[in-house]
């Protein structure tokens, strides 16, 4: 259980801001600013945080859909950002992604069957003769019918499109899937179906997930371990049980208190954060969260808290934890 499939070491991803006549770099958006964690084989690791905190950037940099700025991503012990282009392409089938928006992630002019199966051809994982059977088999696993093979994406609903996206990733027989908010664009009733599909697939195929979400209840349902991000940094990481029963970072506490409880008789203390998330191009000094933290002190403004293990594999970056 503790064998690492993906190891992220001090990963940084800055997007340059250019300006002036000569397009010089005049600043950096620090989307991911020094993050380390590991994802063990067979587990699903949840990554939560509000919009713009760098969750998706991590997911994409992990698969080398973005170039990194600094740090390392090890997949099965190999630094994928150091691989030559063709070697990286050969590794692609092992690591797949399910995108957030099922409408923009499918090419409108390519039939569903071809969209699912084409990558097998390019990796020589299947010959043309058996391709259609294989595609239809995968489509059925993902809850699509075989007569959907010759249809175009615009003929499907959002939930069905997301199933197509999942089938497209699954047919490659990956070890690792990044699920980048796979349900946030869907209706609640469809969300449940897709989440169940993902968790069934994980059980059957021993998949490893990085599950990116801003919905804590979804993460609670699906993940073994959870990391909480704020403004490009990891502020807390623990096993699901530990995190949900004993959140230590004030930001995590605020997120927890925002989970809706479908029972109007229960009263609870909401921690409501003031203000907006600061700009990642110009993050606050000291602890990045001090501008919105309900318990911030003078020390927080000066000194960035260390990201440390408080026991029981529970990591947190707060002076008061």
């Amino acid at each position: 259980m503790s064998e690492a499939l993906v190891q992220v070491e001090n990963l940084k991803k800055y997007f340059p801001i250019t300006g002036g006549v000569f397009q010089r770099t005049i600043g950096n958006v620090k989307a991911v600013d020094g993050i380390s964690f590991q994802i063990n084989r067979g587990e699903s690791f949840g990554l939560v945080g509000e919009s713009g905190c760098g969750k998706s950037t991590i997911g994409r940099t992990l698969l080398r859909l973005n170039d990194k700025t600094d740090g390392k991503v090890l997949f099965n012990g190999r630094d994928i950002h150091a691989l030559p282009k063709e070697k990286m392409r050969e590794l692609r089938p092992k690591m797949q992604i399910v995108f957030q928006d099922p409408f923009s992630s499918l090419n409108p002019r390519i039939k569903v069957g071809e969209a699912i199966g084409e990558a097998l051809l390019d990796h020589n994982l299947c010959d043309r003769k058996h391709l259609k059977d294989r595609v239809i088999e995968t489509m059925q696993i993902c809850g699509l019918a075989s007569y959907h093979y010759d249809r175009f994406p615009h003929e499907f609903s959002g939930g069905q499109r997301q199933r197509i996206g999942i089938a497209r990733a699954l047919i490659m027989n990956p070890e690792f899937i990044v699920a980048d908010e796979p349900v946030s664009a869907l209706d609640v009733s469809i969300q449940a179906q897709i989440i169940n599909l993902l968790s069934d697939l994980q059980r059957e195929k021993q998949l490893t997930y990085l599950f990116i979400s801003h919905d804590l209840s979804v993460v609670e349902h699906l993940c073994n371990r959870v990391g909480v991000m704020y403004l490009g940094s990891m502020v807390e990481m623990a096993s699901k049980k530990e995190l949900f029963s004993n959140p230590l970072h004030p930001y995590t506490k605020a997120l927890m208190s925002a989970i809706p409880i479908p029972d109007p008789t229960i009263k609870r203390d909401r921690v409501v954060l003031q203000g907006d998330i600061p700009s990642p191009a110009n993050p606050p000094s000291g602890c990045k969260f001090h501008t919105r933290c309900p318990i911030a002190s003078e020390r927080c403004k000066q000194e960035a808290p260390a990201y440390r293990d408080v026991g029981n594999q529970h990591f947190v970056a707060c002076h008061f934890a």
């Binding site: 994409r60 698969l63 859909l65 990286m88 392409r89 050969e90 590794l91 692609r92 089938p93 690591m95 797949q96 992604i97 995108f99 928006d101 923009s104 992630s105 499918l106 090419n107 409108p108 002019r109 390519i110 084409e118 990558a119 390019d122 990796h123 175009f152 615009h154 003929e155 996206g165 497209r168 990733a169 490659m172």
Partner: protein
Amino acid sequence: MSVEVASLEKNTKVSVKQPDSPWRAALRRFTRNRLALMGLIILIFMFLICFIGPLFSPYVLNDYDLEVKNLAPNAAHWLGTDKLGRDILLRMMLAGRISLTVGLIATGISVVIGATLGALAGYYRKGVDTFIMRTADIFMSLPGLPILIILGAILSDLKVDASDRIYFLMLIIGVLGWTGLARLVRGQILTLREMEFMQATDALGLRDRRKIFRHLMPNVIPIIIVSATLGVAGAILYESALSYLGIGVVPPIPSWGNMISAANNMIDFRKRPWLWIPPGLCILITVTAINLIGDGLRDALDPKMKNR
């Protein structure tokens, strides 16, 4: 006309039932456009006359008969005869074959070159982009007609056989015409390559060839079609201009352009209008029809362009 209306009704009925695919929606928008439909009918009519008409003519090409030279239109020669006694109607139809073919193939060549180079420039960017687009800039800054005249003169100087000359002409017009489409395609590809479905192809590890030709190209086909249609009209005009100047298609092979040039003296021009009016009308009608179709296709395939 009643047949047309019936087919229109049938078309709308069908489109209500079936889900609106991009192509079917475009077809529906196109058939609603009266002018474009008229252009299409005229063009088909033109093709029929040029390619099937000569089969019904009692005359054969290059059938010189000086006894009937310079006849005005009459019962035997509907459009009269020229100074060598050849039937104008037959020559006009055969000239149409040449002019239409040259226009189509020259455009085909420039579409293949333009679309491929544009796609490569847009996909690979950086050095490839700079190289291809600067080359396109150079081509665009060459004055078109003078260059064509010079190349035509070179062909004449090399004494290329009249029938081989047609192929060179197609090639020259085609090779000079790729730049506009290359720019359009490059621009589209630059936007498309940032779309999420292209990130998905990265994640799947598809080969560049499949990414460019299966994923990007189908999304630029609408603008290729529009640009190609309008390009055919341009190529026909270029061919006519060159042939009129005597450096495009040369006699004895007829083309609309060199038929008009038969009337290059005041006597023929004023006294024998049947020499130059029919081929001139053919060029006018064909080019207008193609332009109408092109405009209709643009409105049909790219609805956003319409309300510019």
